[in-house]
Structures are given as C-alpha cells and as structure tokens.
Subunit: 241 residues, 2 copies
DNA sequence: CGTTATCTTGACGTACATCAAATGTCGTGG
DNA sequence: CCACGACATTTGATGTACGTCAAGATAACG
C-alpha cells in the first residue's frame, strides 16, 4: 500500500494545531508543499494491530516512521526481561530518527496504530535539499532530550507518589500544546506500561492511584480514565517540575 | 578576554581524534576553516574555578558553551534540594544548545574548567550559513538522546551493583571513542556526584565500590582512581547493555 | 455468560536510605 | 616537614518505601 498524499501524515495547510496531530507544529510547520509532495512519493502507509512489535531494538534501522493514529510504547529491555519504557508515541510523533545504524528503542502498538514508513536513505536526500525540515527535526530531537532529562530526575529522585502525579500532570498537558489543559485523561496503556515508564511495579502504581483517589486528587471512572479534581495540588505533588 | 583563534576549541585540521578533544569528531569534523574563522570572531574564552556554577537551570539562555578543559556536572534540582546529575561534560562537549529560551540544566565546574562562550544569536546566523555544522550538532543531540535513554533504563530498572558497573564500563570507554578501552579510570567527581548521577546515596555508592573491590573486579589506588581488573565480568555485571 | 487478562488489595520481604561515627585525605600555616 | 582542621570517604546499625508473593475483584471479549 503506497502513500498517495491522502495517507501522508504531514499537514499541508498552515494551521498551527490542526486535527492532524499533536506535534504537527513542532516538526511539520517548516515543511512546505514542495517537500510534502516529495515525501509522499517515498512513503508507505501501514497498520499495526494492538500488541504487535513494529520496531525491534537493535535491528538495522532501515526506515523511520511517523505515527498517524493510535499509541505506541517505546522501550529498552535487559536480557532478563526487565523493561524500561522511555516514552509513549502518538499522533504526529517520529520514530527511528537516530543516525545510528540500529534502532536504539523497540516499539509496540498499544492499540491499533497507523503509521507512515519512510526509507532512511530517501530521507537523507530530502533533508539535504530542504534544510528547514532538518532544522525542524533538530528541534524535535531537542524537545525529546529535554523530556528525557526530566524523566531522569523523576526516575532517579522522585517518590512513587511524585512520579505518578508528574505522569498525570504531563498527560493532562498533552496531547495539544495549544489546547487548554485536560481534566479528563485517557490512558490507553496498561498499569504495567505505566509501571515500566515510571520505574515502579504494577502493584505500586495501582496502590498510588487509589491513594490519589482517596485523597480526592483524582477520580477513576474506569481504570483507563482519570479525572483530575485538584490540578494545582496534583502539580504541587509532582515535585515542582 | 576575547577569542583569537588560539583559544577556540575547534579542531582546524582533519585528524579524527586529535589531542583537542574527545568528541571533536562528532561535532567538529564537519566544520571547515571558513566556519571556524567566523566562530572565533564571536567567541569569548573564560575560566571557571572548581565548585562554581556557570549555568543556572531556568535562567534565560543567552549563550552556549564549548568545554575546552576540565569537567563539569550537569544537573536538575527539585525545590527541596534533591539533585539528579544528567551527565558529566568534558573536553569538546557543548552546553546550552537547546532551542528553549531557558537553560534546562544547571552546570557546575568539578575541577578548573576552561570554556568558550558564544552568544546564541550569533550561532543562529552561523548555522543558517553553514548547514553542515547544524547537521553535526543534530548528530550530537542524537547521541545525547541515546545516552539519556540508556540512563533511563539504568535509573528505572538496574540494581545498585549494575548501576555502578555500568558507570565504570562507560567511563572506561570514554574519553576517546577511537582509543583502546582504558583499564585505569580517573574520577574527578565526588562520591556524591556519582550518587546523584546513578540515583543512589553516597553510602550505597561507597559500599558498592568496596564490594566490587572485595570481589576482585576493580582496585581503588585512591578514591578518585579505579583500575578495572576484570573488564569482561564487569561488563556482564552492568546488565548486558 | 463463561473465560481470561487486568486491576486492586493484603501480608510480608528486602534493597537501599537514613542516621551515626570512625577513618582517610588534603590544603594550610606554623 | 609536620600538625591541624575541614571535608570526603568508608563502615556500621537501623529504618522504610517499595518490591514480591498471593488472593480476590473487576473489566474486556468472544
């Protein structure tokens, strides 16, 4: 199934936060119609079923990806199976951009994921012709680096309560940088995913959720839905960052 | 004291790993003499005494820096003082490159640090004129992102023993990517720095050092010097990554 | 509507933190 | 050169936040 332009996940208009995707602005704002047309010629759209691994850590990095629907978990694993989720990728996110020869992270679909796949060789040529796009990707990598540093602080120095509060606050800011903060958050990932993201166990995540609920900070209409009742207090619990 | 070219920390030759610096190749290989001359005109060289903070987290990011001597700790802090060191910067490293308006990390000199300071505004102009340099910086950010992801796995999922082993293995690989792995490692940072880097306490770091010594993995001629006696076993202890 | 995975809750264990003190190291001045 | 003081490191005794093990409760799904 080859991309026809319809399937390409780059916003062609100039609206800053179109329905297209959360981070459309950060990477795609700099892309003009000329670049877009060229990209559409080398893209392949595909679907990944929930639970499927579509990037294997350590494999030769042949392609890079742009998520156009659904949510994926990105992770590293130790030989004995211990897993660290480094982030969740959604609408508009880019994967496999590293210049290293192999993928530094694995990626699995949490729900049904739609994505566009680009051969990395072709990307290099496009980037050389359109420096503005490379600059935009640079900014994107920079944002991820800043997020990774925040997460290091969380993993190295925060308590379980602070970690979960930080997670919920960050989720309520997402997915739209330009939208109002959300009170109701959808959690497509499992408790196990959240645990592996926050460096905790499933049990501790669950206990901490109920503690936040008992304290009146949040409500849990269902395990995958959180309503933030006291945003300011929750943010304070997150540890001031 | 204004840069004269002598003080500028960019390698002008093309030798891949000159005495100039560890990561010279990753950022500076792509810089030609023309760029170099222009950079030297906007740089200011300065010295920072041990213990001095020269970048304050959250301050407006006016300049960026290139380390030309000594070692600095890069860190984030919580309001109550808990600290997470996100990395150590040495010869050739770049700081303050984020496109965000404020510094996302603080930086303190561990020993006497020499550095070149560049106004960020001037950098933008240089980068626009010399895309090869921007590409090199992109690769640099990418390397840091991969390192940050490794560190997330360490902080989220490794034991104290695995953390310290990982740290020593990584240090033995540095500072020269192209040199033989070092058996004798210098540790300019304190136990407290190592603790804040590995998400542990001073006491646990110290105990783990002595345990590695008793197990015959390392020798400690002095607290700031480590000799790796069993590199292969130590690497295995690091947890296969 | 049963089957199965996920989530929650409880009882208990442990790796690492905390508190406290001894030892070692280094710069400074006598 | 040596004595002193400040600070870093090591070592010991004890505490605790979170992990592990083990059931239930709830939700998802054919």
């Amino acid at each position: 199934m080859y991309g026809t332009g319809q399937q390409i996940a780059f916003a062609s208009g100039s609206e800053p936060c179109a329905s297209f995707g959360a981070r459309a602005d950060s990477v795609c704002a700099a892309i003009n119609d000329e670049d877009l047309a060229r990209l559409s010629r080398i893209a392949v759209a595909s679907n990944v079923a929930a639970g499927q691994t579509f990037i294997h850590e350590g494999d030769p990095a042949a392609d890079f990806f742009n998520i156009t629907g659904g949510t994926a978990r990105l992770f590293k694993q130790l030989p004995d199976g211990r897993r660290q989720i480094t982030g969740f990728a959604g609408l508009g996110d880019f994967l496999g951009l590293s210049h290293h020869g192999t993928y530094t992270l694995g990626a699995e679909a949490i729900d049904a994921v739609r994505l566009c796949r680009f051969p990395r060789g072709s990307l290099r040529a496009v980037l050389d012709d359109f420096p503005s796009m490379e600059r935009a990707l640079f900014r994107h990598a920079d944002d991820e680096l800043a997020a990774a540093q925040d997460q290091m602080l969380l993993l190295g120095r925060k308590t379980a309560l602070e970690r979960l509060a930080s997670f919920l606050v960050a989720r309520s800011a997402a997915p739209h940088p330009c939208a109002r903060r959300l009170a109701r958050i959808a959690l497509p990932m499992t408790r196990g995913d959240i645990a592996d993201y926050l460096g905790l166990t499933i049990e501790t995540v669950s206990r901490t959720f109920t503690r936040l609920k008992l304290d009146g900070m949040i409500d849990l209409p269902s395990p995958q839905e959180v309503v933030i009742l006291r945003p300011a207090k929750l943010e304070a619990m997150a540890g001031g960052l």
